[in-house]
Amino acid sequence: MTTVITVPPTLDEEGFEQVLEQLAPLPADAKILVDARHTTWASPYGLTAMLTLGQTRAERPAFAVPEKDTTASYWARAAFFEHAEELFDLHGSYPKKSGGDSGVLLEITPIGKSEDVHEVVGRIQVKAAQIIAKELNIDPKATVGFAMTLSEVCQNIIEHAGRGGWVAVQTYKWTKRLGRRVVQIAVCDAGMGFRQSLESAPGKVLSDRWDDGAALEDAVVRGVSRFRDPGRGQGLAGVRRYVGRWEGKLSVRSGTARIALIPAWDEDLPLIEKLSPFPGSQLQVTLPERVMK
């Protein structure tokens, strides 16, 4: 029997949680059809997380593509179908990848080794400089920090996931939440996740309250790493500083918890626990357009 997993009209962090809630009761080898026919919008997080969902299934899942042409066209430009073809049996018609969307700063790109990080950082620099200064009104000095942030969050996959993941960067007007333009980085993997990564640290003593939430607090807030080297753990700390400096938002989901660094413009919760379980870690950075006060 095939279980239909309905993708909501908006596939973002919230939308992906709705997908996971439907998936939670099913074993990994259950036959599923991911139905995105009525999905009309997706964030880079939604698209990269959906690919990692494909990675986690023991039985190759089916995937019904969006019916709306403009949605399918955008997903194609973001390179979603290109990668989804390897993980899902795609149903419905969708365009082959084509260029032309300036909103896609970095199409969905697999990250599995150090060279991949060089590649994405090299590709993003010029475009990021244009977007940050001209569209987001952020100090051009922030461009380097943006590339550093991208580098560090991608390295998280290489150092901690134990398997490949995906990165995507997009800029768009976030009408629903903010009414301003934003640039978003999404990095998702279906690897071991923060909890298991930190548990593998030599001599790690687990606290009474050791769970996915505690692991996220250690890694994201306290800069704890599984490596003994005291220089480790600075990457995410640097990302946190950068995001805070530019009034951005950082959220990281791993296992059954999600932690977020929340700016004044958002009303999210800093820590959400008891979410539907999902392997690996899924991270999103959002930088908003600056407005004159």
Binding site: V117, H118, A147, E152, P230, Q234, G235
Partner: protein
Amino acid sequence: MHLIDVGTVLRQAVSATLYSNLVTRPTGAAVRQQIEELVTARGDRALTVIDFSQVSMIDFSCADEIVAKLLLRYQAEEEIFFVFRGVTEDHLHAIDAVLEHRGLALVAEEDGESRVVGVLEDSERRAWEALYLLGRATTLELAAKLTLDLTITQLALDALWRRRLVMRADEFYFVAAAPRAGSHAGSHA
């Protein structure tokens, strides 16, 4: 003085001509190892300029692997002194962070002027800056210049020497920096 162009080392270390960004720990480790080989080949007492002019960007991981670990290694061993040249404000985002995290400091040089960057005690920073202006000085001369207690001055200079931020020859101390016009440091470099 010995000059190492990090941009060239980077291209050699990662076997590619495309990269001008110092990103990822494996890249940083490979670059540092090459730098260490070049430094070791110069003997156990040398002043080496590490030139970042051809580097577009450095991330935290690479800054830790290259800058912090290089400084840490040579603090404990030979009399190897470094001056970091071509370090821009962009590079300093990452470099400052790792220096602070590890409690380190370095000498940065730009347009012929040097400055000390990172974590120092106030007396150490004052001593370094005064020494830089003087070119070279004995402990007594520096204490007089700073109107500081002789013991405190000596402790500051010892700490700076252990951290390879100043060099010493006989009773004189001088900063580990490129010689300044009009100073006496050139005679010791």
